[in-house]
């Protein structure tokens, strides 16, 4: 009896050890514990080493006066501003080039992706060359190319290319008249918003009517009329409350007006042309993924090639296009940090560059910069995932 008891208990113990569930739980717990300990010791090590080497740490530096200038700022910034503000200035510059870059890259990508599938030999070969050349050259090289191409091909300030006596192009940038708002300008702004809302409502109404009666409504012509007409009417009724400050050549360069710096133009061109080539391939793949039968069915129903593409093919292709498109958007945002090579004052150049060097607080500053790129990437992919769910195939 006693012997049997012993066998049973050893069987229990051994079955406990050999239980795959227990074993996997145990090994996972060990893995997590080791990871936590690893992270903890890295942090502890860093803090201890910083202290031992007498290197300043903490985030107090963010309130200290920066003392250096930044070439382009979307918010008020001067040398007397704080290091914390250099962070915001850099972040906004990164966002500016990323958002506009994404918009242009998407347009380029769709145009060339569709063009590559064109039956017209010349158009499809042009798209082919664009995609193959741009996709296969290193981005940094392209940035330098655009930068020096832009710089070398335009004249100095005194020989500026002049358009309508109000726009000037030279190697210091593109100078535009700057709008000055007077009382009443707010009404014009409101009228633009009203016009946009009206177009949206019109479009909904037109679609409903088409569903119900089959009659089409010329939405596009009306939208243009409303978008431009309404603000113009309000503009003149309020007595032209917007005037312009024109750039003027004084001393070394044009003073006044709005300036678009060449670094921005070069970076924007390089990023959007490069990413556009990848998007073109994604769009082409998406369209090819839609079965030929869909197009043929559409033709059979009497739709012309344009509406077939717009109403039948692309909505289905989007399901294939959106996920890889998201990673191209993320790439573009991250690649914008190459700006540092051509002096565009983005986050990496201003904050993780100059500010880092003046304060020497590499751990904090790089931590903040990493957090920004991570947040931007996660936000972009959350937005795109939301859109993906909207266009995804709804199975009934």
């Amino acid at each position: 009896m006693a012997v049997q008891d012993g066998i049973e208990s050893s069987q229990k113990a051994s079955s406990f050890i050999y239980d795959p569930k227990v074993r996997s739980l145990f090994s996972q717990a060990v893995l997590i514990a080791v990871l936590i300990w690893l992270g903890y010791s890295v942090v502890q090590n860093t803090i201890a080493n910083l202290e031992r080497q007498n290197i300043a740490s903490g985030f107090g530096f963010l309130d200290t006066t920066a003392g250096f200038a930044v070439g382009q700022s979307l918010i008020a910034y001067s040398e007397a501003s704080s290091y914390g503000r250099t962070f915001v200035v850099g972040l906004l510059n990164t966002l500016l080039v990323s958002v506009i870059g994404i918009a242009i890259a998407t347009v380029l990508g769709f145009i060339f992706g569709i063009a590559r599938l064109s039956n017209n030999w010349v158009i499809s070969k042009i798209a082919y060359v664009y995609v193959e050349v741009m996709r296969n050259l290193p981005l940094l090289l392209q940035i330098f190319f655009w930068y020096f191409a832009v710089l070398r091909s335009v004249p100095g300030p005194r020989e500026s290319i002049t358009v309508f006596d109000s726009i000037f192009i030279n190697n210091r940038g593109l100078k535009l008249p700057k709008p000055l708002y007077e009382p009443g300008a707010g009404l014009v702004g409101i009228s633009i918003l009203v016009a946009i809302a009206a177009v949206w409502l019109l479009r909904r109404w037109a679609r409903k009517r088409q569903m119900a009666t089959g009659e089409q409504f010329p939405v596009f012509q009306w939208a243009v009329a409303i978008l431009f007409g309404l603000p113009l009417v309000v503009f003149y009724l309020t007595g032209s409350p917007v005037s312009f400050e024109y750039p003027e050549l004084r001393g070394f360069n044009f003073q006044g007006g709005l300036t678009i710096i060449p670094e921005f133009v070069a970076l924007l061109l390089a990023l959007s042309v490069y990413t556009g080539a990848f998007i073109a391939e994604i769009v082409r793949a998406g369209i090819l993924a839609v079965s030929r039968g869909q197009t043929e069915a559409s033709y059979a129903l009497g739709l012309r090639p344009g509406p077939t593409l717009r109403l039948v093919v692309i909505p289905q292709a989007l399901r294939v296009i959106i996920p890889p498109l998201t990673s191209q958007y993320l790439n573009l945002t991250k690649n914008s940090s190459l700006a540092v090579a051509i002096a565009y004052p983005d986050l990496v150049s201003v904050f993780a560059g100059t500010t880092l060097n003046q304060t020497g607080q590499a751990v904090e500053i790089l931590g903040m910069t990493l957090a920004v790129y991570l947040t931007l990437s996660l936000l972009t992919s959350a937005l795109m995932n939301w859109y993906n769910r909207r266009v995804a195939l709804v199975e009934r």
Binding site: S27, V30, L31, V34, W37, L38, S41, V42, N45, N49, L50, R52, Q53, N54, I55, A56, G67, F68, A69, V70, G71, E79, F148, L151, R152, G156, N171, R172, R250, G251, F252, N253, Q255, P262, E263, V340, A341, I342, A343, P345, S349, G353, T354, L356, N357, Q358, T359, G360, A362
Partner: protein, 338 residues
């Protein structure tokens, strides 16, 4: 299996941190057999590679002097080219043993970054370069100009201070690498190129037509440039400091690469102490007693290094000015070896 991999990763991480934690740089250097020296990415006269790919320049010669003092071999140096932005992190993290990269000695860098400046191998000041055809004669006429410079330098701060103090608007265009600044200035992106005056003379050589550009007379800042080491290793700090002092003392005492052997027989006790014939000064910093004699035999004294790399007979053509010995109207001065 997983645990094994993780375990070794942890051990590796701890091993790495242990290596950086050890303070005796001299022992590490001796074990490696060479000094890891942080230099610029290419500044003629200070640290630059020649046609054969060898590093030359005033800053490079300082590293070679240290190698000569430690190993009796000026070639026992490995160079790490660093951008202005990377340099301090590279030194702090132990990637380089000494930073000899035209670095300005400022209070913030000396105190808050955990670094020690060992001396001033070159007294510099910030200047401006412009195109001759602009017709500008003084920096005070630069109101509204576009200014090209390097990121992560004191230059960026000085130019901000100068234009603010004189109430002049300006546009800053800051690049990471010096070569890109020169290219952009050459392409006409900026009216003005600003950096340390020595750098202006050096970079001017890289322009398409160097003669079309001129350096303005104003010097707007004090830029004492010198070698830097980490805090917390006094022995290594002392070696760096005294290699520099030995170079200056040698010039003052008239000891050159050519006459160093002969000078060992000199009756002047100061020379005897410098060359290790009398006293045990080398031992006190962990080296052989003839450490300074080795330095001078291999790389020459301070004056020789200056003349060879940046002096009037070089393409840079910089006169001694502030960098002459104190006894000759300059401010290069070293404490005595005794």
């Amino acid at each position: 299996m997983n645990k094994l991999v993780l375990g070794s990763a942890v051990a590796a991480a701890l091993g790495l941190s242990a290596a950086t934690a050890s303070a005796a740089t001299l022992d590490d250097v001796k074990a490696k057999g060479s000094i890891q020296c942080g230099v610029s990415q290419g500044l003629p006269g200070f640290s630059n590679t020649d046609d054969a790919g060898t590093w030359t320049g005033l800053d490079v010669d300082f590293c070679r002097a240290m190698a000569a003092a430690i190993f009796d071999d000026p070639e026992a140096v490995r160079y790490t080219p660093l951008s202005a932005k990377e340099r301090f992190t590279a030194l702090q993290s132990g990637e380089v043993d000494v930073l000899s990269r035209n670095t300005t000695w400022t209070m913030q860098r000396d105190t808050a970054l955990g670094l020690n400046f060992a001396g001033v191998t070159y007294y510099d000041g910030q200047g401006f370069m412009v195109r001759r055809d602009l017709g500008v004669a003084s920096a005070l006429e630069l109101s509204g100009a576009s200014v090209c410079t390097n990121t992560g330098t004191t230059t960026e701060l000085n130019v901000a201070d100068y234009f603010r103090a004189n109430d002049m608007p300006y546009e800053i265009v800051a690049f990471e690498k010096a070569d890109e600044v020169v290219q952009a200035y050459d392409a006409g992106r900026c009216d003005v190129y600003t950096t340390d005056a020595s750098g202006l003379y050096a970079q001017r050589l890289k322009l398409t037509n160097p003669d079309e550009h001129m350096v303005l007379p104003e010097i707007i800042s004090k830029e004492p440039l010198g070698p830097v080491v980490r805090q917390g290793d006094d022995q290594w700090f002392n070696i760096t400091k005294w290699v520099y002092f030995a170079l200056v003392n040698a010039e003052e005492l008239g000891v050159t690469a050519a006459n160093v052997e002969e000078m060992k027989g000199s009756n002047n006790p100061a020379i005897k102490r410098l060359l290790g014939v009398e006293g045990a000064f080398g031992e006190a910093i962990g080296l052989e007693n003839d450490w300074a004699a080795r330095v001078i035999a291999h790389v020459g004294n301070y004056g020789e290094i200056f003349e060879r790399n940046v002096g009037p007979d070089t393409p840079l053509g910089i006169s001694r000015g502030l960098n002459a010995l104190w006894s000759e109207g300059g401010i290069q001065y070293a404490p005595p070896i005794r």
